[in-house]
Amino acid sequence: MTTDLTTDHTRATADGAHTHGAPGVGVVPEASRASRFASFDLAEFPAVTGAEEEWRFSPVDRLQHLISGAATGAVSVDVTPAQGVTVTVTDRDGASTPGVAGVPNDQLAATAWIAAAQRTQVTVGAEVETDAETTVVVRGEAGAPAASAHLLLTAEHHSKALVVIDHVGGGELAQTVEIDVHDGAHLTVVSIQDWDRGAVHGSSHRARLGRDATLKHIVVSLGGDVVRVTVDGEFTQPGSSLESLGLYYADAGQHLEHRLFVDHAVPRCTSRVTYKGALQGESARSVWIGDVLIRKAAEGTDTYELNRNLVLTPGARADSVPNLEIETGEIEGAGHASATGRFDDEQLFYLKARGIPEDVARRLVVRGFFAELIQQIGVPAVEDRLQTAIEAELELTGL
């Protein structure tokens, strides 16, 4: 086995809107992701101050209902299952509901856990293979009491399926999405945050992968005022693979935050994290945190994480913090890259020098920025939808 540590900072651009690695002033640095507190019971967490590593970038005031346990309302959850996929809705029992994947590790995840009254379980039966989409529509209502929801997605052994979770409407939602991928299963999960403006959404996605399991996890955040999605991936058996993709487009006044944690605790697993975001408009804000932990036992790990941000107009701000912890030298590869840039004047000049008008050139560059990521999604219906969404975003600034 080779030791091949690559840390690619070469393409990270120096930019005021970019932080890298070390926490800022006045922040309590965390020793290791491994030591972060986790519990199913919100009562065991201290109250959020806003200075904590996991909250320092978030608009805590606007998330108040979702981190204090107050989110006891409900949203509508409609599932249209593909053939071979079953849906069951069961009542929950607050903090003592048994968890399937991971443990809440911040107050929002714990609120979602204690406050949801029901669990919607979507199960792909063993050896069921389907290209058809299972659709979960989560609809919130503006002005309704803050709500919690719990979704459990289970892919039984050697199954293959696609689940698209569509978040629409308004209101405030604290959410748990547990994803349990059994041995040899291939599951694609797409979570689209297509909220109306005004919506506030915090979601804890926790995935658990069995032996030789594959999870493609895709997060798309477009709408809402505040969206904060944490994605925790945990490998429990060797040979599995996690591909984590994300796309976000923050407009004026929006806060879109994505926090990834990949826990390599067992040997020979692969993870690829690729998130790309564009920002436009006054105080458009994005936060990306990518924590990868390679524990002592995780020999043969292969991991790479990348975040790129394209700041389209002045007044927007992107924070990007990749963080790689490696406890064993016996790995295949580990690297990360993070960059935040503005429109590249030389690219625009090149395109314009071929007669292409400025607005068309800018569109080409933005489409190009997302093109590769969209191609990686591999689900035509979702790809088409994203293309359309990006065109709509481009219309917004008159680009």
Binding site: Y350, A353, R354, G355, P357, L364, G368
Partner: protein
């Protein structure tokens, strides 16, 4: 018929402590069908002239004018200049991630012509032009200049020139970094356009090698931001033999 007139052109670039003058009074006229070669030492301002004609924002014109058929080019935006019929093959073509060559070419053609090219003939036209430049069809699906070798980037510049059919083409060191075969292939591309259009060519080069393929009507020696001497093709041979010393001494 088109005429590009450069009159008493002075250009500066913005540096930390003010403006740095680069071009110091360039006079040059390029007409349809003519080929002008510009030769001169490193740093003499050849690329500055090329970029200024194309309208790169880094270069500030402090005096003089550039006219295309009497129209003030300096008042046109970069894309307007291209649509007016000017083309710059760049010394260092730029990578544009995520934008495929085929999409880029179609978008540029649409912009230049004011309407989308007829799909059926266009695809064939692109294919033929790529074949002639010995570019693998696979390049059409690659991102613009991304991972292209130096020589591939230059062929891609000439491909664009052939497809966009400008009235005046400025080629900034298109021959640099080309092996003998590529030099011939690229030169044939330029000659094809010269043969089937009235393009006027301003060819910036360090070597007489390319001038054996692309015959210049005029040769200009560029030194310290201005044209120090002009003549016919024989001047290029003299430069090759004698170098620029004679001009450098008098420029100081």
């Amino acid at each position: 018929m088109a005429t590009l007139e450069i009159k008493n052109l002075h250009v500066s670039i913005a540096i930390a402590d003010g403006l740095k003058p680069i071009l110091r009074g360039v006079d040059l006229t390029v007409r349809s069908g003519e080929t002008h070669a510009i030769m001169g030492p490193n740093g003499s301002g050849k690329s500055t002239l090329a970029y200024t004609i194309a309208g790169h924002p880094r270069y500030e014109v402090t005096e003089g004018e550039i006219l295309l058929d009497g129209e003030n080019v300096l008042e046109m935006s970069v894309d307007e200049r291209a649509r007016a019929g000017m083309f710059l093959a760049m010394q260092y073509p730029v990578e544009v991630p995520g934008v495929t060559v085929s999409n880029f070419l179609r978008t540029a053609k649409t912009a230049i012509d004011g309407k989308a090219p007829a799909l059926r003939t266009w695809t064939g036209e692109v294919r033929t032009a790529m074949d002639a430049l010995r570019m693998d069809p696979e390049f059409a699906t690659r991102n613009v200049n991304e991972g292209f070798s130096g020589g591939e980037k230059k062929r891609h510049e000439i491909l664009q020139m052939e497809l966009l059919r400008p009235q005046i083409a400025v080629l900034d060191e298109t021959d640099s970094g080309l092996d003998v075969d590529a030099l011939r292939i690229v030169s044939e591309g330029v000659n094809r356009l010269k043969g089937n259009s009235e393009v006027g060519v301003l060819l910036i080069t360090h070597y007489t090698r390319i001038l054996q393929y692309i015959k210049p009507d005029f040769v200009h020696v560029f030194v310290a931001g201005r044209i120090a001497e002009q003549g016919g093709p024989e001047l290029a041979d003299r430069l090759e033999a004698e170098g620029y010393d004679r001009f450098l001494a008098s420029a100081v």
